[in-house]
């Protein structure tokens, strides 16, 4: 957005929201929402503690691994089911099922299959992020301009060439949109995994703080989490803008 001809950076509206938060907190409307300044103070206090650093490490590790798998599996699967009727008919119903399965319900099965460690948490994270990536890639591929596919084939593109040079790029705006949303969901996924499976990392902190009504600690962790989500989402939004030049002229 531009104000008086000056272009405001993307997330600068957060300052506005932070201000509202501070005001609400100061009014003491509810003890659940302490003023932002207090939260920041707490954050500065706790951020260097070993417990906090360990939680960040555990969370970041599970998150990054989960997103990695969601992306490298989700995009190819989405593209493949978008272009092939057979695969779509085979896989889409299951995508729908996993999509709508309450993950809490899958947790016991996951635990049985993968144990309680990092592995299950990573898988939960992946399960949160992957479906939107698959569905968006599929949607992107389904509206591909057929002439491009024909063109690539007529110039002798191998299936791999077609995949990387045509389908991927043609669907890229949708894929990036999907990855962006998937990544944000993964943030939630990693926390839910840490709450549902074994209580470690940020999940453990949330549980601890909210059980003990330590609201400013609670919000401090949330802020760190949101910062993570925002910076990733902004980075991906930047990539999206990089492809917007052709997104609307496909």
């Amino acid at each position: 957005m531009t104000i008086f001809g000056y272009k405001l950076p993307g997330m600068s509206s957060l300052i506005l929201w932070a201000l509202i938060w501070e005001i609400v907190g100061q009014t003491g409307w509810t003890f659940f929402i302490p003023p932002l300044s207090e939260v920041i103070g707490t954050l500065i206090d706790v951020i260097g503690t070993p417990a906090f650093l360990k939680a960040i490490y555990e969370t970041a590790y599970a998150f990054l691994a989960g997103v990695f798998f969601a992306v490298v599996i989700g995009i190819p699967v989405g593209i493949l089911i978008g272009k092939s009727r057979l695969l779509d008919e085979l896989i889409l119903p299951w995508v729908n099922i996993f999509l709508s399965a309450p993950l809490t319900a899958l947790v016991p099965v996951l635990m049985v299959l993968f144990g309680f460690g990092m592995k299950s948490i990573i898988i939960t994270t992946t399960l949160f992020a992957i479906w939107i990536i698959i569905l968006n890639s599929r949607a992107g591929v389904k509206q591909i301009n057929r002439s491009l596919v024909d063109m690539a084939r007529s110039f002798g593109a191998s299936p791999l060439d077609a995949f990387f040079k045509i389908y991927f790029w043609a669907a890229l705006p949708e894929i990036l949109g999907g990855v962006r949303i998937g990544v944000i969901r993964a943030v939630k996924g990693v926390i839910i995994g840490q709450l549902l499976i074994s209580i470690v990392g940020f999940g453990a902190l949330f549980e601890l703080y909210s059980n003990n009504f330590m609201m400013s600690h609670f919000w401090a962790v949330l802020i760190v989490l949101f910062a993570l989500a925002f910076s990733l989402s902004e980075f991906l939004a930047y990539l999206e803008r990089r492809v917007s030049y052709y997104a609307s002229s496909r």
Binding site: K165, W169, Y246
Partner: protein
């Protein structure tokens, strides 16, 4: 006569729509054959079948006597709707055919550069398709097909959006390729004049379901030169003759 491409009893249905019915046609090597026919009669369909992009419902295609099973290096296609990669600039688009054939980057860009120059787009190498005019886009597609140097060229209304000046240049270039490099052209156009001027053989197609109704082999006009041909009586006669027969079939 040496046949480069033969279409043997090809039928093509799209669901209920019968586009081609039992169509057979030979394309002699080193010659230019034009396909003339009403809009929607199945010219693009036929070209795509020859290119190996569509499966015919019945019949088959032979190239050098061998039945085709799909697209091949021996054929290059110029698409009616250009089919440019919107995310790639002109240079990448033109060199894309070579890229798919595994030509090294520096080499394929040098070749692409040459063809970009040929179609008059020097200076636009870094532009993206959405920054080009219709005719410029069409020329990008043309340059891409020419750059892969295939033996058979399938051109689907390749000059429809370019100006007269460019069109004449491309016609000459095309004729030169036929003459000097023994390439086989299969050329779709709606301009009877153009067909008469450039073709060794003109196949007139019936409206859907399409078959070949007539094959005409105009000759001797090229030597006269573009400038004068329009005033030549034989030329005008043959144009009128084709026009008459096209109109007949349509009505």
């Amino acid at each position: 006569m040496d046949t480069a491409v033969s279409v043997l009893n090809v039928t093509k249905n799209y669901g209920d729509v019968e586009a081609l019915r039992d169509l057979s046609l030979d394309f002699p090597r080193g010659q230019l054959t034009s396909l003339l026919g009403p809009s929607g009669c199945g010219k693009t369909t036929l070209l795509k079948i020859i290119a190996g992009l569509l499966e015919p419902t019945a019949g088959n295609i032979e190239i050098d006597g061998k039945q085709i099973t799909g697209p091949g290096e021996d054929r290059a296609f110029v698409f009616q709707d250009f089919a440019l990669l919107p995310w790639a600039n002109v240079l990448r688009n033109v060199s894309f055919g070579l890229e798919l054939r595994g030509v090294a980057k520096s080499e394929r860009e040098a070749i692409a550069e040459k063809y970009i120059n040929n179609v008059g787009l020097t200076g636009f190498e870094k532009s993206y398709p959405h920054e080009l005019s219709g005719g410029m886009r069409q020329r990008v597609g043309l340059a891409r097909a020419l750059s892969v140097d295939s033996k058979v060229l399938l051109l689907d209304e390749p000059f429809s959006a370019v100006d007269e000046q460019n069109r004449r240049k491309f016609q000459e270039d095309m004729l030169e390729l036929v003459r000097n490099e023994n390439k086989t052209f299969i050329f779709v156009t709606h301009s009877i004049e153009e067909a008469v001027y450039v073709s060794d053989q003109i196949a007139i197609l019936l409206p859907r379901p399409s078959r070949v109704s007539e094959i005409i082999r105009p000759k001797g006009f090229r030597s006269a030169g573009v400038e004068n041909i329009r005033r030549s009586k034989e030329y005008l006669d043959i144009v009128d003759q084709i026009w008459a027969s096209l109109r007949n079939y349509v009505e």
